[in-house]
Each structure stands twice: as structure tokens, then as C-alpha cells.
Symmetry: D2
Subunit: 432 residues, 4 copies
């Protein structure tokens, strides 16, 4: 996480201020539940609500001495609350606070990411409808295959990010649990109803069963989901980088007027944003394996996961937030060149219709082998000698037995390739 690739709202989630704020809420809620259950005096939560406060610098000062962050926080809290503070945290273990706090932070982060996805989906949808009928060539292996529309291309990305939204919602459920269960998860000094109360108030579920910690398979599943989303970002970024190549130039990232270094070489509009996104995707994915290695903690817990999470939780969410926002902006402002798309589509003089011709000849009763030969010899002549493919076909005696020039014209009709655009749009967007 570095400022260059960060947005303040997501960064704020991971700052000390927010963490201690959540800790205070957890401790206060737990105290409320304990007071209600009669385990601690009724005045305790009242006092904490009334006078509870913290000071980040002071906590750090105490922690430097005690080397224990939760104790430092509680000591500082006591400095504000006074006597009643000694009942706070009673029967709880530090991890109850830390892990529940992480759950709150991750859900906060996820809510931002969900908004990001909504923004990206909206941009993709808008541009997809805008280019619903913009013809362009479909490519497999980087080689021209058959016509497609640019809107359909964008629709595939929309569908992919819609799946990512579903995945992220599931990932949010994975990590939205609360544990207030004590040193080894047995509630030895706690009533399970405390956990249930805190969970409900925080919008979390009580963890089914915890050890000292919330089990880390949850977090592994969460970060793996971020890795999948990052990979989808890479796919769209790679598409745009390809479209912006000098020889292709079907689309370009928006280039702001003041942006330096380009105007003396006007062709030198580099797809730096999508290249950057390709790199950011690698970074988000880098969190996946460490998160999985974090699962196998020893017995009821070891603390090896902690340093990993202190880094990857901010890094992966901040980077993904930034990347989604950047990608949304790229899609939103993408400069599309339909005339270049058409020019590329025409580049091979109609050879992209070969398969259509082949199919039709077979349909008309020609054997597959003969049809193949007929298509092949004319395609080769067109390819090698640059002759017009359609004219060649019309002049071919064997083809003429089965297809009239009008038939051939129909086969070269691009409409063939767009007749199911509505069907596909309905599938993807629910409307066409």
C-alpha cells in the first residue's frame, strides 16, 4: 500500500483511529451484555458510553512499554473512564477484540469494494449499450476469427464482474463473524450470549465455534476472492492494451489535455493505466497464497497469521479499490474508434466469412471435403494474391453450382453475426 495507488476512504479503514474506535465499540457492547446478564455492574457500560475515549499517541506510548496492544488500549481507556473500566474486557481474551475488529474492518472494506464493482458495472453497461451494434472483429489466438460487436465484448466483462460481485458478497459473509469466546474458545469465563449480542449489534454473525481465534480458512477464502477479481481486472486491462496497439488502434485510454510527453509524438498514447492495472492485479493476487498458508495455525492458535494480515489486509483491499476505480474511469472515458474497427474487419477482404461459406455449401449438399476444397482454393488465392474473396467465389464454377451471387452476398452479411445480440444482452443485462 503506497499513496500512489491508494484512495483515502479505504486507507482510513486501516488507520489506528478506526481500529481503536471499533475496539471501543466491541468492549462497550460486551460490557452492555455482561451488565445485562448481571456479570458486571450496570454502571460499567454507562460509564464507558459516557466517558469512553482514547488517544492514539498515548496508546502507542503504553504499548512501547508493555508490548501488548490491547492492554495498552484498555489502560488508556481506563484513564478516561476511571474505576468502572476494570470490569471492561472481563473474561475476554485479546483475540476476541482483535479478530472481531478485523471482521468489522474487512466488511467495511468489502462494502467499498462492492460499491466499486457497482460503479464498474454501470460503466460497462453504459458503454456496452452505446456500442451494442458497433461491429468489430472477434479474435481467437490474436488472429481474426468472425465478426462480433464491441458491445458484446463489453457484455462479457459485465457478466464477469457481475459474477465477481456475487463472489464478493459470499466472501463478505465468510469474514463477517464475531468471536467473544475467551482464551481457547470455550466461554470458560464468558456467557455465549455476550458474543451473540455483540455480533448482532455489529451486523456480524456469532462464529459457530472459535479457538482462540476466528478460523483462518475464512480469510483465505476472502483473499482468494480478491485474487479472482484482480485476475478479471487483468483480463479487461489486457484487452484494452491490445486494442490500443499502434497497428490495431480500435480504442484508447482517455488522455487528458495537460498530460505531458505525448504531443510531440502524437501516436505515443501509451495505455499506461491498463498496464498499471496489469501490475496491480499481480499484487492483489500475491495475497492469496500467504492467506492460505495462514490457515494451519498450531493448536488453538499461533500468531504467525498476524504479521501477514497486518500487511495483506490493507494492501490487498486498498490496491483492489484503487484498481477498480481506475478501471472504471478507463472504461468510462475509453475513446472508441468504430471506423478503425471496421477497417480492421475489412483488412482480410472478407476472409472472415469463410466458415459461413463452407457451412452453407455443406448445407446445400456439397460433401464436406469438396466444400472445403472450394473454400480453400479461393481463400488461398485471396490471401496470397490479394484478390477480392467474394469475387473469386462468384467466379468459381463448383461454388456457382450451389450458390448464386445473391446467396454469397447474404453469406457476407454481417447481420448474421449480430442477430443474437438482443438475446445475449437480455441474458447479461436482463434487458436489450
Amino acid at each position: 500500500m503506497i499513496p500512489r495507488y491508494s484512495r483515502p476512504k479505504m486507507v482510513a479503514i486501516w488507520e489506528s483511529e478506526n481500529r481503536y474506535k471499533i475496539w471501543m465499540e466491541i468492549e462497550t457492547l460486551a460490557a452492555e451484555a455482561m451488565a445485562e446478564l448481571g456479570t458486571i455492574p450496570k454502571e460499567v457500560p454507562v460509564a464507558v458510553r459516557a466517558r469512553g475515549a482514547f488517544n492514539v499517541a498515548r496508546i502507542e506510548e503504553i504499548e512501547a512499554e508493555t508490548k501488548h496492544d490491547v492492554i495498552a488500549f484498555l489502560t488508556n481507556l481506563g484513564e478516561y473512564v476511571g474505576e468502572e473500566a476494570r470490569f471492561v474486557h472481563q473474561g475476554m481474551t485479546s483475540s476476541d477484540v482483535l479478530d472481531t475488529c478485523l471482521a468489522v474492518q474487512l466488511t467495511q472494506a468489502t462494502d467499498i469494494l462492492l460499491e466499486d464493482l457497482d460503479g464498474l458495472l454501470a460503466a460497462l453497461k453504459r458503454r456496452a449499450f452505446e456500442h451494442k451494434h458497433t461491429l468489430t472483429v472477434g479474435r481467437s489466438h490474436g488472429i481474426h476469427a468472425e465478426p462480433i460487436t464491441f458491445g458484446l465484448k463489453l457484455a462479457t466483462y459485465y457478466a464477469e464482474f457481475a459474477r465477481n460481485k456475487t463472489r464478493l458478497l459470499a466472501a463478505r459473509e465468510e469474514i463477517a463473524t464475531c468471536a467473544i469466546s475467551g482464551a481457547v474458545g470455550t466461554f470458560a469465563h464468558l456467557d455465549p450470549r455476550v458474543e451473540e449480542y455483540v455480533a448482532e449489534k455489529l451486523g456480524l454473525k456469532a462464529e459457530t465455534i472459535s479457538t482462540q481465534v476466528i478460523p483462518r480458512d475464512r480469510h483465505a477464502a476472502f483473499f482468494a476472492t480478491l485474487g479472482v477479481i484482480a485476475s478479471s481486472i487483468e483480463r479487461l486491462a489486457t484487452e484494452i492494451r491490445h486494442l490500443q496497439r499502434t497497428e490495431v488502434r480500435e480504442a484508447e485510454e482517455f488522455f487528458s489535455a495537460g498530460q505531458k510527453g505525448s504531443s510531440a509524438m502524437p501516436h505515443k498514447r501509451n495505455p499506461v493505466l491498463t498496464e498499471n492495472l496489469t501490475g496491480l492485479a499481480r499484487l492483489v493476487r500475491a495475497a492469496v497464497i500467504p492467506a492460505m498458508e495462514n490457515v494451519a495455525l498450531w493448536h488453538e492458535r499461533d500468531i504467525s497469521h498476524s504479521s501477514v494480515e497486518r500487511m495483506i489486509a490493507p494492501d490487498a483491499t486498498v490496491t483492489l479499490d484503487f484498481a477498480l476505480a481506475r478501471l472504471t474511469s478507463v472504461v468510462d472515458k475509453l475513446v472508441v474508434y468504430p471506423e478503425r474497427m471496421q477497417a480492421n474487419l475489412d483488412l482480410l477482404g472478407g476472409l472472415v466469412h469463410s466458415q459461413q461459406v463452407l457451412l452453407e455449401l455443406t448445407q446445400k449438399g456439397m460433401s464436406r471435403e469438396d466444400a472445403y476444397k472450394a473454400v480453400q482454393r479461393n481463400a488461398m488465392a485471396s490471401w496470397k494474391e490479394g484478390k477480392n474473396y467474394r469475387a473469386l467465389l462468384e467466379a468459381d464454377a463448383d461454388v456457382a453450382k450451389h450458390l448464386t451471387p445473391k446467396d454469397i452476398e447474404a453469406l457476407f452479411d454481417l447481420g448474421q453475426h449480430t442477430r443474437h445480440v438482443d438475446t445475449l444482452f437480455k441474458r447479461v443485462f436482463g434487458e436489450a
Copy 2:
């Protein structure tokens, strides 16, 4: 995937026989739909159903020449079916067959993995109930913390693998889609109803929108899920390895009578199965990043994903199947030593009850600081001089002001730690 870590049922899914069988079913179903729609003669699917067959060796022979597997298959199919075969596969692209086949294979594989998980869950549940009240020490950082029961330990694994089952069901949905959409996914030469028909008959969903291929974010999410499950396997395997250490010896992998190399050194019962599972977990996880790198195919597809999937699809599913089965057997036959658990629990002469004493003293009105000092001096005396901790506490004047010997006895009651076992079992198993 090597025989040593493979089970035949899962291996069979990835053999040529099964693959071609699925291809034939896809082609036949597609032909049925096309015939129904009037695109090809009604006799075609009838002929394929009647005479359709294939010969693996023959297909390989043709493929060696043509370097194209689907064409080789269709040629061979034609040799059996005759004339009608030329209408088979019409308007389809090879990927329609390959990707839909992969979806079928992955769902078949997942169904076995789901059975495996059920088996593991059953074993964990049985052993958890068997040891519901078997006391053992809970450990954080490898250090004794507070008492727990062995059944509770197993319950945490049950809950984790139950989550894994939920994840795997979601992962199954991810990859259970069918695409029969042609060269670039536009249905240029196909009716979308063909896709819907084939999908339904195969128990799949029609892919919302495909390019030439089914989008690979689906497969990335699938393999990531296998990686999470593998990590959970590693956690349980690591637990057992720890319990079997010479100094701990609370549980041991079952050691078959004939197994060589141990009897001359009877203590040398090595947890080789769980060590092996630790390694297998690494292997399954190794599929995750390549699967994510597979997402960003160029434009409407490139074929870079193919070699990756030819390896990781069999490797990861076969290895995970083997690992789950091995783990189930380990859990099922695990030799548990309750007396050793009790001995370890007693190892520190009651120090595991410190926190309980501290808490009670505070409850009884002692200040947190004084309570801490009282507990500390007696704990240190017990630890350093090996004296009985409970006796020390009883003899401490400050403690005596607040706690009678009977109070102290109550605090040393292990029952404190097991009183919520039923609650937790109900949460985990739905019964206690």
C-alpha cells in the same frame, strides 16, 4: 498426479475414455436439438444414437496427423456413423465441445470431492462425540493455555470442513455451465436453443455469455476453493503431527500390524500420513495461481489456459480426493490417549487456572493490580520451585481475604471449561 497419490474413481474421470464419452454425448445432444429445430435432418441424431461409437487408439492415430483433437474425434465418429455424421457439430466450434466437456468432468470430480467431505465430516462428528468430554489442554503459541475437550477440538475441524462443503457447492455452480455458441460466442451459425437443450440435459446451466470459451474466472474461483480446502487439511494434519510428538503423545495415527520399521523402535511411530498430507496440501494450492493467471486470455480467447488445465484439473482433483480420503481414514482410526492428555494437563500443577483465580479475585473486589500481584507471586513460586499452586494460593494471606479453600477448589474445577460444550456442539452439529 501419480499412482501413489491417486484413487481410481477420480482418475477415471480424466481418462480419454470418459472424455470422448462426454464429447459424444454433447455432439449427440446438440444434434438432437438441431434436428428438432430443423437445422439438420431428423435422422442425424437417430443415427448417432444408434451407431455412434469411438476408438481411443484410432482417434489418437488421426490426431497425430491432423494435430486437432476434435476433428480426429469427429472423423472417427464418422467412421462408425456414416453419412449422417457430416451434420454433426454443425456451426459449432471445438471449444463448444471441449469447454462443456471440462464442465462435465469438473462437476463429476466435484461430486466425488463432496462425497469425500461427507465422509470426513462423518468421521469427525463420530470422534467428536466420542471425545466430547475428554479433557485436554488448549494451547496457544504451543504453550498451555486453558483446558478444553478433545471433542471441542474436533468440532472446530468439523465446522471448518462444513464450511468447505458450502464453498465446494458454490464452486461446483461456478464451473457447471455449458457453451454451444460458436467461433466467437455470437451464435452466428447456431440457435441459442441448442445450447439451452444441451445444458439442461447435462445438468448444467447455459453460460450467460461466452467468447470462444467459457470465461476462466469461473475456473480460477474453482481451483481457489480447492486451495482453501487443502489448507484446512494442512491445519488438521498439523494438529495431529503435534499431538503425536514424543513429548506430547496424546494421539497417534493408526499403525497397521505389518507395517515395517517400527517395532524395533516402538516409540518410532511416525505421523507419516499427516506429514504426507501437509505436502499434498502444498501441491493442491500450487494450482491456484496458474488458474488465476489463466483468466486474462487475449480477446475472444487464446489457448494458453489449455496446457495448464490439462495438468492442474486432474492433478488438483485427484490429489485432493486422495488427501481427503487419507485424512478421513486417519481421523477414523486415530488412536487417542486420554490419560496422556490428562497427564499433560496436570504437567504445570494447576497453573492453567491462573486466569480464573485472577478474575475471581477482581470480582471479589480486589483491585486488578493487587489481584495480579497475588496470582503472580504464587504462580512464580509454583513454576520455579515446583510447589503445588493450589496449596500456595490457600496459604497466601491476601488471597485468603477474598477466597476460601472451597472457593479456590471451585476455581480449579475443570467443569468451568466444559460447561458450554453442549452449546458449542449444538451450534456445530445441530445436536449435543
Copy 3:
């Protein structure tokens, strides 16, 4: 490792036959050293050399019962050798045989990979010299930058793979060690001279200090090196895939005459080999993290590394061998289109010379800002209106103050970009 991506010579290294052959050599050499030292009777190694043999099926039969591969092997060896066999393996531990054998197998594998690299380097060198002066456009960000020659491009790959050879030689040293040091590496029942003798005879070094096993940081470094080489393969494969794009078409993978599926769509020559190599690179890299996770074995060893190595050692070496051979063939037969390179170079009407003009104007005394503006307005005019860039510059009054048409002609001289080709070739190949 699947047959499709395997070559027999590398596969043979990992077959049982070779493994047992190496085991026998290790045991025989150890017996020779022990006999020489007087620890065992002189007849023992003589007998083993004379009658030593093994039968893979028989070993597997015994192993099925004993579940111990080395014991099974020794039992089978005894069946051939007779009485003297009982002195074989004396004081040794199974790992002495297994780990030393792995070292031999990995060095054998590395020697093949080194040959592969030599082959690739030779092909790159030959093609680099062939195209030493073939002009093509250099691209940054996929956008035309400045001219380069195709030979220079290939020279960068040559230099990269030459570095990879150096790395692989270092990696070979990493894993070429022998350990015959007993149960925990203390030589409790062995003389260190046995280890030294065996090491020397096998062309290995005696491991400085082993535990029960040869330390796994060595193997981690080895597989990491394979991962780097795989990434270089990906770079060259990606280059070729780009060059073969329909719109670029500067080079193509050789397409064998009989290869099916292309002739009806002659433009549809897909770079399937380099796409495949892109995928294979991901697979080789997948071994890196598991190999690193293997390092932290417990105490003097646990066996978690074993399953990992049984898979990744064959998989990574076989796949890399196949990939290097395939890449060599692709480079060797690559179809290069110099006229297409020239056409692409001319695509922007000389704009690639902008920087040269800008530099010269500054040299001639124009301020950087003014020079920039002059270049910019003419470049924009050329870019937007398709006018000849050189003509525009000649007609520009401000430019004319500093540059004559002859000066400008010189600035558009492609020779500017090739004048250091010899220097670079000498640096890379030691000759030009």
C-alpha cells in the same frame, strides 16, 4: 507431467528403473568404502558388483507389504546377492539413499536442460545474425517507439537465456550434493569417509552438514531457477504471439503442410505453440512456492517434502525440457516477414523520427520549449491529416531556420538506429 508435454529422455530419469539403478550404485559404492575401511567384509562389494540386480515388480510387491521402499529394495537385492547383502546399507538411513539419489536425478535432469539451453541459444544466435540488419519498429507500451533490428530483438533473448544458463549451472551446484550421514546426520554408525567416497564417485560434493536429509533450501533455490527460466520462455513466447497478430504479422510460427484447420481460413495461422508455452511457463512456476514451503521441515526432518518432490521434480523438469525444445523449434523455423516489418515501420509516415528531430533542434540552439512546439504542431498535422511528416517539417519556417532539407533527410536516416548493432552484437555474442 503428461505424455503430451513430455520427452522420453527426461521422463526416463524419473522412472523406477533409473531410480533403483542409482540406489544400487549408491549402496555398492558405500559398501566399497566400508569394505576398504574394514567396517564390513571385503567380499561384500565384490558380491554386490557381481550379482547385484533388482526387479521393479518384485520391489513393488514387497513394498506393498512393508510400506517401506528402501527396505523393499534391499530385500530384493538380497534375493540376488545372497548372504553378503546383510552388510549392505549398514549404519545408513533410508534418506542417505533417497536424497543422494534425488541429487543424481536432478543433476541428470539439469544436464538435459543445459543441452536444451545450448540448443535454444544456437537457434537464437543463428536467427539473430540472419536478421542482424532487418529493420523493424521497436515498441514500448505496444506503441511504435523507434526503429530497431529484428536481430537486436533476438539478441536480447540470447542474452537472457545465456544468463539463464549461468543460473542453471549455479542451480546444478546447489543440488549436486551427497549425504551418507545416518539417522540424524551425526555419522553415529558411519565413517564420514564413506560419504566422501560415494560423493566423489557420483560426481557430487559431500554435503557440508546434513540432518536426516539434505537441506531443502538447496531444492528451493533449484526450482526457483526453473521458474525464472520459465518466465523467460513466457517473454519470448509472448513476443512471437504479438508478432503473429493479424494486424502485425511480422513473424509466424512455422505451420506444417498437413496441419489441419487452417487452409480454409489461410489467415488463421494461430500461434498455438507459443500460446502453449505461455501456459507451460505457468506450470513450471507453480513448483516454486511449494519448493520454498518444503524448506521448513521439523527438527532433523519430517517427510512433508517428499510428496511434493515426487510430483514437482518430474513435472517441472519434464515440462521445462519440453518447453525449451518446443521454443527452440519455434525460433529455428520462425517465418519472418521483413517486408511486413518495413510496412509497419512506415505506418506512421515517419513520426518515429520525432525525437530525433526534437533533439537536433535543441542541439542547434533552439530552446527546448520552442523545439517541442515545432515538432508538436507538425507531428499533430501529420497524425490528424495524414500529411507527410518530413514534408511538413521542411515547410515549417521555424524549423527551416535551424535545419536544411538535407539535415532533415539525415535525421530520417534509419542508419542512426543501427550504427551500434555491431557493438551490441559483440557484447552479446562476443562477435559481430
Copy 4:
């Protein structure tokens, strides 16, 4: 990289101040070489050396507008230097500065890491000699195997980190190269002697051949090496975590007097530092795959590697520096309990000598089968009934035929296991 796991010296390398300082040195050196070659006026480097300066805030201000860091820096430089500044950077491309700067930063970082390794090696050596003869049990699979000394254990780590030092020196060479070669590496507007001059002055080598950038296989090899070192850290950390387990307690991390949270539970000395190191190892390893994914840049460069390196270069070096320093401190102050080591060694009543007895019986002429049976029945009796193993052997009639009580005493001599300590120390440390 977060303050908690950072040390200032390494952090400083990655701060803007240091980066711009290096940029200025590169530009100045390049100007010196150009002036010497007569390409630019002699006064230019003189002026830059005299008045050259920069202001981080001002650069950031300019960059915010131009979105180009090198132009921003040069503009700011010009504000200090004046007129002569326009000749600075002539013919160079931004990457010449950026990549050469990264090389300088990485070598600076590596030099710190090399010092760290020296510190760790010194600590390991000191403690190894201190405990050269401290007997402890060697363990395979976590199970007691045969005696070893604690010094030997440490010697294996010394040897491993000595290998890591060798690797790091090689990795340093990998990335210590300089490129001043222009837009696509052809020296179109530069003399190669400029590159050679700058390289020499900076203590780097001129890159053999660059594209627009220094090839990224170098950086991949570099970060892979950091990943291997991290894995070695994990191995030693894991060892200490095991030794500190309550049931083993053979060694403990030093626990500072003021450290909170322990004294009330004196046994609760948690190996938090080594657990933390286990997590940090995962983080360093997380840089490896992204660094490898960075290799395959498009054509002469794309900028996808940049964001990755902006994160992993500081993160991986800062984290590894911190981890090595922490590990050194842990080793240095490790509290070792020889009496606990002896107690654990005695735990099984001599069963660790089984193999020794077995071997001697065979040596004395007993058949392997009979010897095995004899050892086995007595070992089982000792194991199951807790009887003294040595007494049982002495009382065994079959054993007595071959071994006198004195022979048996000799076989139970721990000296057998330490007789090669000197040999091994000489191998590892060059002295004993």
C-alpha cells in the same frame, strides 16, 4: 512495509530523498561522459555539480501536473541549475534513469541484507560453539530418533545461512547493472561509452543489452533469492517454536523483564517472535511470483512491472531486513535449557539406542532377522511396561550370546553420537 516491521536504514533507501539523489548522480555522471565525448558543452556537468539540487515537494507539485516523474525532476533541477540544464538527459529515456536507479537502490538494500546475514552467522556460530557438546535428542517426524548436540543443530543453520549469503551475493550481481541506452536500447542518440562511464562510477556493470528497460529476469532471480532466504528463516523459527512448546521446553526466546502479560502465568512465555518470523517469511515469499510475472513485458517494454516493483522492492527488502535482525536477536539471546534437553533424551529410557544395538548384533554375526527380533521384544517390553531397556537387554539370553553387559554399556554410550562433531564443525566453520 509497515513501521512495525521496518528498520530506518533500509526504509531510507526507498524514500524520495534517496531516489532523487541517485537520479541526480546518474544525470550528472551521464553529463560528464557526454561533455567528455563532446556531445554537450563542457560547462554542463560543471554547472550541475555546482548548483544541482532538488526539492521533493516541488517535484511532486510538477509531477501532479505533468504526470511524468522524470520530467518533473528535470524541470526542478533546471530551476536550480539554469540554462545548462537543457543539455542534461540528452538522448536518454526515462527508463535509463529509473532502471539504473533501481539497480543502485537494490544493491544498497542488498548490502544491508548481507550485513544482516553476517550478524546472524556470527550469532549462530557463537551459540553453536557454546553448545557444541550440549546433548539433545535428534528428532525425525517429531519423534525421538538418535542423540545429537545442540551445537550441531545450530551448525546446520549456520551452513544454510552461509549458502544464503552466497546466493545473495550472486543475486546482487544479477541486479547491479546500468542501462543508458535510449528509447529502445539501440543507443540511437547516445554513445555506449556514456553507459560504461556511468556504470563504472556507480559500481555497476553496463547491461549487456537492454530494450527500453533492464531485463526483468534479473529482478525475478533477485526476489526468488529473497524468497529462499525467507524460507530458511521460517525453518529456524519453526525449530525454536518447537523447542519452546510447554512439553519440550528445551529453549525459549528471551523475555524482557517488563514484558507484560506473562508473569501471572509464568509458563506462558510465548514464542511470539519466531511465530512472527514465520509470518514474515510468507510475506517475503509473496514477492516471488509477481516478480516472475513481471518478466514477460511486451516487446521492448510495457510498464506493468513498475507498480509491482514500487511495492515489492521496499516491502520485500524492508521485511527481510527486519526479519533477519529479529532472528539474529532471538538466536543471540536464546535461553537454552541443557537439563531439559537431557531429561527429554532420557524420556524413553534408552530406546534411542535401539539401532545401535541392532547394528552391533548383526556385526557380531547374528542374522539380521534374529537381531531384529531380539531388539524388538526388549524394546516393546520397555515401551509397554516401562522397564529399563538396558537391563532387559542384559537379561536376554539370545543377546547375551553376542554382547556382554560391558558391550551393551558401550552401545549406550552417548559419545558414539558426538565423535564426529569436530569433523562437522570443521566442515561448517572451518574450525572446531
